[in-house]
């Protein structure tokens, strides 16, 4: 290659010319090659949120119980007097596409350390997954690899995977989505920070040794996947060591117990560079680091490699001067490496030496102050046309057959073969495990209280109407938590979209964030953190804009947790909440008619708030025998699932006045804020009164009992033995 055709250095590290000029402006000189690489990674979309930051400002982040909002490694919210939960979600989409097992495994490791960085012991994991259809062996392989990776890491570290979701669409074939969330517990009085402080305090490196893995992983996550990328980005595959991850959790908690730790952060994307820059910038101080003191796995690593390595299972800590031995001892007791590698300085400068040689000298804030971009937002014409599609003339298929097909659809079918691969019981907190609307964990620290968690999102809805998808994800997650009887207290969100430099994706991003923001504002549930993954595109196109929302709720008494399935013959079946449904973006439309089109229902957020409140109070008052939210597959699937879960049938009548004329819409139409509950006959009056007072509509639909699900409609009747429902629902592929 001649000098003339060589890519400019800034382009090689992924910066634009203007960005390079801005770097020079901030430094007052040109960066040296090591510094340039650091900017390349720190100013990548993955680390810097260049395209998403302006939108994220719209999210409501404050609330009465919020101890830490976005801006730290995880959000923290109080869940009982003196007890707090840390909460965070993170994506590992690109690494999982390249190596599903290790990509997903390291995703688990990373999110555990985010929560650990707040001083919390991780107590639960959730996974939200998207793949191409499972009849494609490649998609199945990806899925099985991802599940095996999560299982490998989660089981080994002893943090239960208590919930999650798996949905399949063509658009995820080349771009699977792997979002993992973690919840941790900590004393409210002992929330840690990543803000470095105290000039003269030593900086401690702890955990696994540094190798050449994952160099440039953050910038890799900010590129589209193409055929050549696999080879070119070999360095971007990281391998996790759950054993080291487990030791790091125990040793770090022990180190924090000494009281000698001032601040800490994990070394994730962009490794040591990111941790040192963010910790310094957040604390308004500087750091001096000596790279030759960093424990290494390989000989001959350059300073750039040590600074940018994304080797897993490492933490950076600032420790009170004179007490470093206590902290080092905790790590070494657990067989991990721990070394003092530098110290905090008052001057806001990051000064890095290698064998006495100064290799980097930068203001840390320069690394954390990437520019932001606004791309003009433009809804594509074709999308509007899809949404405006007239679905009123669709032929109606045989409804029984349609119900079984929807139940068998991979996105709806029971996920037991997945979640039995996860240890969901370790730590002895799991009162309700995977398979229910939300998982319930007891708080042994504050009995009989518990927390509930759920993760939800529907990319198809967001594709047709980003706002409806964003708001819908919040509604579904909060409703799931409310169904088990818990009051939602916080959410964290993961946004997965395509290339944000395209106006269409900018439009999707804006709409999705607005939907989340509006919903959270009306529901009074703060967003305490989140994650953005962009550039989820291949030559086959972008993924559907896919927001996933993790909701954390608090349950006054875990003994009052409401089950999903029908419990007792004779109980009344009641459909509670919104009456608005549509086939737009529904599972039925795709499965029975092969179409993704139509106008999804936009949530009535005020009604949703009242619905959540009614469910929580009804649960507390013991009025509910079961509760299950309506999502993919609508009322028919919810009834079927309640029958299968309870092992009992039900007989329902859907009168056209209440449920609409078109029977497939009544059965399979989808829309937010709808729940099917069962209530003991003697409690019905109290429940109806509670709903009436809160202006939440209810429709009496039938009774629990028998061995069939019978649904009588205006002109038709659907009758399916519960056993057939079960075998359809268990047809996992």
């Amino acid at each position: 290659m001649t000098a003339a055709t060589r890519r400019p250095d800034w382009e090689a590290v992924g910066l634009r010319r203007e960005e390079y000029e801005r770097v020079c402006g901030l430094l007052g000189r040109e960066p040296n090659p090591t510094e340039l690489r650091m900017f390349g990674v720190m100013w990548s979309e993955h680390c810097a949120y260049k395209h998403s930051r302006p939108y994220l400002r719209r999210l409501p982040t404050a609330g009465p119980g919020v101890l830490r909002g976005p801006g730290e490694n995880a959000g923290v919210v109080e869940v009982a007097p003196g007890l707090a939960a840390a909460l965070k979600v993170e994506s590992h989409n690109h690494p999982s596409a390249v190596d599903p097992f290790h990509g997903a495994a390291t995703g688990v490791g990373g999110i555990l350390r985010d929560v650990l960085s707040m001083g919390a012991r991780p107590v639960a994991l959730l996974d939200s997954l998207r793949f191409g259809p499972p009849d494609d062996p490649q998609s199945r392989r990806l899925r099985d690899g991802v599940v095996a990776g999560i299982s490998h890491y989660g089981n080994s570290v002893g943090v239960p995977v208590v919930g999650g979701e798996v949905l399949y669409e063509d658009c995820y074939r080349a771009n699977p989505l792997v979002n993992v969330a973690c919840v941790g517990l900590l004393p409210s009085s002992r929330v840690f920070t990543s803000a470095a402080a105290g000039p003269g305090n030593p900086v401690v490196y702890a955990g696994a040794r540094t190798g050449r893995d994952g160099i440039g992983g953050a910038s890799f996550a900010s590129e589209e996947l193409d055929e050549g990328s696999a080879e070119a980005d070999r360095g971007a595959v990281q391998i996790g060591d759950p054993f080291a991850g487990k030791l790091l959790i125990e040793a770090t908690l022990e180190a924090l117990d000494t009281g000698a730790v001032v601040a800490l952060q994990d070394m994730g994307a962009a490794g040591l560079t990111c941790a040192a820059a963010e910790m310094s910038a957040r604390g308004g101080v500087g750091m001096v680091l000596h790279l030759d003191r960093v424990p290494r796995r390989e000989r001959g690593m350059t300073p750039t490699e040590v600074l940018l390595s994304e080797s897993q299972e490492r933490m950076l800590l600032v420790v009170q001067r004179g007490r470093e031995e206590e902290v080092l001892k905790a790590y070494r007791r657990w067989g991990l490496r721990a070394e003092v590698v530098g110290e905090v300085v008052a001057e806001p400068v990051l000064r890095v030496y290698d064998a006495g040689q100064l290799v980097v000298e930068l203001p840390p804030s320069a690394l954390t102050q990437a520019p932001t971009y606004r791309v003009p937002e433009q809804e594509p014409e074709a999308r509007r046309a899809l949404r405006d599609a007239d679905l009123s003339g669709l032929p109606q298929p045989d409804l029984t057959e349609a119900l079984l097909r929807v139940l068998r659809s991979p996105s709806v079918v029971g996920k037991r073969p997945i979640y039995t691969q996860y240890d969901h019981m370790v730590q002895l907190r799991t009162v309700v495990g995977p398979g229910a609307d939300a998982a319930v964990l007891r708080l042994v620290e504050a009995p009989p209280r518990g927390i509930a968690v759920s993760v939800d999102g529907n990319g198809r809805i967001a594709y047709l109407d980003p706002w409806a998808g964003g708001a819908g994800a919040v509604c579904e997650a909060t409703l799931n938590v409310a169904c088990v009887g818990a009051r939602p207290v916080a959410v964290t969100d993961g946004l997965n979209l395509g290339n944000p430099e395209r106006p269409e994706v900018a439009w999707e991003l804006a709409g999705v964030v607005d939907g989340i923001a509006d919903a959270c504002r009306v529901l009074g549930v703060p967003v305490v953190g989140g994650n953005v993954s962009l550039y989820n595109e291949s030559e086959r196109g972008a993924v559907y804009p896919t927001p996933v929302v993790v909701c954390l709720g608090v349950l006054e008494d875990v003994g009052c947790a409401v089950p999903t399935g029908f419990q007792k013959a004779g109980d009344l079946v009641v459909v509670v909440g919104s009456g608005q449904v549509s086939l737009g973006g529904s599972e039925y439309l795709r499965v029975a008619h092969g179409r993704v089109a139509g106008c999804p229902v936009r949530a009535d957020l005020e009604l949703h708030r009242r619905l959540v409140d009614v469910l929580v109070r009804a649960a507390q008052q013991g009025l509910l025998r079961s509760a299950h939210d309506l999502s993919e597959g609508g009322l028919a699937v919810a009834l079927a699932e309640a029958c299968v879960a309870g092992g009992v049938g039900a007989r329902c009548q859907l009168s056209p006045e209440l449920f609409g004329r078109r029977t497939d819409v009544a059965l399979f139409g989808e829309g937010p804020s709808r729940v099917v509950v069962s209530v003991a006959p003697e409690r019905y009056e109290a429940f109806a009164e509670l709903c009436a007072r809160s202006r939440v509509p209810i429709r009496l639909a039938g009774r629990v009992g028998g061995t069939d699900l019978r649904v009588q409609l205006a002109e038709a009747e659907v009758v399916v033995p519960v056993e057939d429902l079960r075998s359809a629902w268990e047809a996992y592929r």
């Binding site: 390249v98 190596d99 290790h102 696994a208 190798g211 050449r212 893995d213 696999a230 080879e231 070999r234 595959v237 391998i239 060591d241 054993f243 080291a244 796995r297 390989e298 080797s311 897993q312």
Partner: protein, 83 residues
């Protein structure tokens, strides 16, 4: 006709080999002198003889290994009947 082949797979040099580290520690604890321990995988399988080299190569690259992080070697075996 069939062919019996053995494939041995190791992580590429430089890729973290957590198992290798653990085994090395274990060996040392037992008083064995051993270093640079690497742990890999081994496969044995029977494939149709015709064009077996290309087949096995393809199968390794597409299924048995991740060529990004692993190297493999293929060996011919005597045709043995695995009961």
């Amino acid at each position: 006709m069939n062919k019996r082949v053995r494939v041995v797979v190791f992580l590429k040099p430089g890729v973290l080999d957590a198992q290798g580290q653990a085994v090395e520690t274990g060996l040392r604890a037992l008083g064995f002198e051993a270093s640079e321990v690497r742990v890999g995988k081994a496969f044995e399988l029977t494939v149709p003889e015709e064009g077996w080299r290309e087949r096995v190569r393809e199968l390794c690259e597409r299924f048995l290994t991740n060529p990004l992080i692993e190297d493999y070697e293929v060996f011919e075996r005597e045709e043995v009947c695995v009961p």
